[in-house]
């Protein structure tokens, strides 16, 4: 297992290099110019040239890339084009926000998805199964930003149970933190819960027909023990693979849902950076997101190995 972790971490180095080259190249190809935004509508050509020089944008892309890379390997991802905010500082400030939103969404997705999937699998073709299947279809079909708006309209604007916008850090008030992440997490996690429910149902139906389950039942084990200890543990193996993908989806979805709830996470930062063509910020954000995805996949492999000894690398 340790070898697997080391292998994955080592593979991260060339991956980040390739991603950084691609991001730098693509942003350089964009037709818009951040200097225009910096100098404003009344800026002169002289100011334009001065700012370009200050930002180093009059140098070839390759030179700029290697200058950036030289600092990046030392942990300095640079400074925003627009102010003195360091990229690393901005990312680190917003990372906990997006992570807590993603984690809460994943928790909701797992709770709802596993419960619905198990319930449907225990009574195939029953009204419970049909209801769960219909719910899963609805959950996957509904766009998360639209669902978020509906949740805000009902539970924040009308009922006033939750705040309509914003995020409270858990360190400031755990209760307010919970209130601030519930609605966005439901909006974000619903689609993933649908995907998980489908996977759990499918896997559970298969497992429940296995001989060892029949044997366990014949031995007189309680239904709860058979379902949760024997069936669900094995059914969870393929679910973990889905979950890995879903967490990646949740990270991406958080970028949109953060806008609906005015949450100042990585998504809001990314959208601002794209709009402003803040290349250093974009570059840093892409690298961090790629790093996060790799870590999630690594964690999934570890959990997968724990659940299924056959899958562990020799």
């Amino acid at each position: 297992m340790l070898r697997l972790i080391l292998q994955r971490l080592l593979a991260l180095v060339p991956l980040l290099f390739i991603v950084s080259v691609l991001t730098f190249s693509f942003t350089s190809l964009l037709p818009s110019d951040p200097v225009d935004l910096i100098i404003g509508d009344n800026g002169t050509q002289e100011q334009y040239e001065l700012v370009r020089e200050r930002l180093g944008m009059n140098q070839p892309v390759v030179v700029r890339y290697f200058q950036w890379l030289g600092k990046a390997v030392q942990g300095d991802l640079g400074t925003s084009f627009f102010n003195s905010v360091s990229v690393m500082g901005a990312v680190m400030q917003r990372l906990p926000v997006t992570l807590s939103l993603t984690a809460m969404s994943a928790l909701i997705a797992i709770l709802i998805g596993v419960a619905a999937g198990v319930a449907a699998a225990l009574r195939p073709q029953s009204w419970v199964d049909r209801f769960a299947t219909l719910g899963a279809t609805f959950g996957q079909a509904v766009p998360n930003f639209w669902f978020g708006l509906i949740l805000v309209a009902i539970f924040a604007v009308n009922l006033r149970w939750f705040p309509a916008t914003g995020f409270t850090p858990i360190t400031q008030s755990p209760w307010e933190w919970l209130r601030s992440v519930i609605l966005p997490s439901i909006a974000l996690g619903t689609a993933s819960s649908a995907a998980i429910a489908r996977q759990v149902r499918s896997a559970m139906v298969g497992v429940l027909q296995q001989d060892y389950i029949r044997a366990a039942r014949a031995q007189g084990l309680s239904a709860r023990r058979v379902i949760f200890k024997h069936a669900l543990t094995n059914a969870m193996v393929p679910v973990v693979a889905v979950l890995s993908f879903q967490i990646t989806v949740l990270l991406g979805g958080a970028l949109i849902v953060e806008q609906v709830f005015a949450i100042n996470g990585l998504g809001t930062l990314a959208i601002g950076a794209v709009r402003q063509q803040d290349i250093p910020m974009l570059q840093g954000l892409v690298l961090v997101m790629v790093g996060l995805v790799v870590v999630v996949q690594l964690a999934t492999d570890v959990v997968y190995g724990l659940l299924n000894p056959k899958a562990r690398p020799s």
């Binding site: 404003g40 003195s84 901005a90 309509a164 709009r275 063509q277």
Partner: protein
């Protein structure tokens, strides 16, 4: 020579006519309550302020350095930075950190308020004020300081500004970011964009603020006019999403916020419990025929074509359909109530398709022509509507999408024979000439030679700082612009501030003239 020595007049709430009587009652009640409270409790509690007021800004804050501000975001700066002058409710500059001024040709002498210190304890004096002005001139971002050659301290409380050319709007410019005074320590700080230090009633609380989300301000203990500190805490939230900002207002998370003319502000306008305040000033949307000498599109040199285009626009329908009924038709660059506004120009290019077709028939291009128009996403629907109007008279306008943020730049090039922009109606009319009229104007990329009449009026407008003298000149200039029809004004949208009923009924809420912010001096919390 013009000289002004005046204390700041009492602020008066800007509101619609219907609410004025009720407001007077409120003010009377408040004044009585305040007098009673002061009598009973003395002034110390009032000086510290109490309660919180929450404002939402629609743009993300980029920098807290006022001299590097190229766009919106002033509500983030006002709590900390005070200007030398500010606008009175009727739009006239009145002293704030200054106590008076004298303009004599290229020499501007400003006397400064004494005994003022920055929140870090540094004294505010003429030397610091001169350093501020000189920094602004060197950075060259602020349009209003472009006529300034340099500034120097005459003595501790007298500032002298030398102009490069006559500028009757120089005092006006010092009401905005050009006149904001930064502490010497702030100016020396490379991270000034995140560490503002000014003389304002509040100080920026970096520890409590969350960058990108909310900026927190607390009372400035060294403030020179402590009675004007009415809050214990002022918050400015960055909520760029219009729906999120609307939801925050509906649920009471914010007390007020600024909006553009969009579906969400239209919702505020008709939602019980909320009110959409239409502030003074605003944005004038207009089409600019840059190639008015016909270099690329010969038809644009024909005055009949330009007049046909101006008559072909159904401004009323445009305002209702594209700007959600929140804009009004416009035929001149100034807004109603502005000192240069000329009511005689109302309806000069009223929608009249028959007349438009007559002009086209009279022109050398009766069968129409086509031209390219740059567009950014926010203007796409506007241009689609205009293209429809022009199509009716045989003119095909091809909409060419541009990257957001680049419209101003492409409009200064000869890539397009025409463009479309907005103009802040509270801007001094002298900037009209600088932007559109002079041969070297910013948005005259084809270097079209202005008519003698226009050039003469533009120059006359610079010869006096007295708006009584300047107003008739600029009215004539607006009439001449209408006659030449290379600037086709479409609609005016007022400054829109969405507020809760509590804020609407709060008598201490004073909306700044021509700005999407609330005057913090004297502002108290709603509850």
């Amino acid at each position: 020579m013009w000289e002004v020595q005046a204390p700041a007049p009492p602020v008066r709430r800007i509101q619609d006519q219907a609410g004025r009587a009720e407001m007077k009652k409120w003010i009377t009640t408040l004044a009585a309550s305040v007098a009673l409270a002061l009598g009973l409790a003395g002034t110390s509690a009032w000086a510290q302020g109490s309660g919180t007021f929450r404002y939402a800004e629609q743009v993300k804050l980029i920098t807290m350095d006022p001299q590097q501000q190229s766009g919106s975001g002033v509500p983030f700066l006002r709590p900390v930075y005070e200007t030398l002058f500010e606008k009175s409710p009727d739009g006239k500059p009145v002293p704030l950190l200054a106590t008076g001024y004298k303009v004599d040709g290229l020499d501007v002498t400003i006397t400064l308020r004494q005994g003022v210190t920055f929140s870090n304890g540094e004294p505010f004096n003429a030397e610091v004020a001169a350093a501020n002005i000189n920094r602004g001139v060197k950075l060259a971002i602020i349009e209003g300081l472009k006529t300034v050659a340099s500034a120097e301290a005459v003595d501790a409380s007298t500032l002298h500004i030398k102009l490069k050319e006559p500028d009757p709007a120089i005092i006006d410019s010092l009401c905005y970011t050009g006149g904001m005074m930064l502490a010497p320590a702030a100016m020396a700080d490379p991270a000034i964009d995140r560490n503002p230090i000014g003389t304002g009633p509040y100080v920026y609380d970096k520890a409590q603020s969350r960058e990108g989300e909310v900026r927190i301000y607390t009372p400035n203990p060294t403030y020179w006019d402590k009675d004007k500190i009415g809050l214990a805490r002022y918050e400015v939230w960055e909520l760029p999403d219009d729906t999120a900002r609307l939801n925050a207002l509906k649920t009471g998370q914010i007390d007020a916020g600024n909006w553009l003319a969009n579906p969400q502000s239209a919702i505020i306008d008709r939602t019980p419990g909320l009110k959409l305040i239409r502030g003074t000033g605003g944005l004038n949307y207009h089409v600019i025929i840059s190639d008015r000498e016909g270099t690329v599109v010969p038809a644009f040199a024909d005055i009949n074509v330009r007049k046909a285009m101006a008559h072909a626009i159904d401004r009323e329908a445009f305002g209702k359909a594209v700007q959600f009924g929140l804009a009004e038709k416009s035929f001149q660059p100034y807004g109603k109530g502005d000192w240069a506004y000329d009511p005689a120009l109302e309806g000069v290019y009223e929608f009249n398709l028959d007349k438009a077709r007559e002009y086209m028939a009279k022109s050398k291009f009766p069968n129409g022509f086509s031209f390219d128009m740059p567009s950014i996403p926010i203007y796409q629907s506007r241009l689609e509507a205009l293209a429809g109007f022009f199509k009716e008279i045989g003119i095909t306008m091809n909409i060419v999408p541009q990257e957001p943020g680049t419209l101003a730049r492409v409009s200064r090039t000869t890539n397009f024979p025409a463009t479309n922009l907005v103009w802040a109606t509270n801007t001094d009319p002298k900037f009209l000439a600088l932007r559109y009229i002079y041969k070297d104007a910013a948005y005259n990329p084809f270097k079209a030679t202005p008519s003698e009449e226009l050039l003469s009026l533009a120059k006359q407008g610079l010869e006096s700082v007295d708006i009584g003298v300047r107003a008739p000149i600029y009215k004539k200039m607006a009439a001449e612009l209408a006659d030449e029809a290379f600037l086709i004004f479409v609609t005016n949208t007022p400054i829109l501030i969405g507020v809760s009923d509590k804020t609407a009924n709060n008598p201490t809420v004073v909306y700044r003239f021509g700005e999407d912010s609330i005057n913090l001096r004297g502002l108290k919390a709603n509850d």
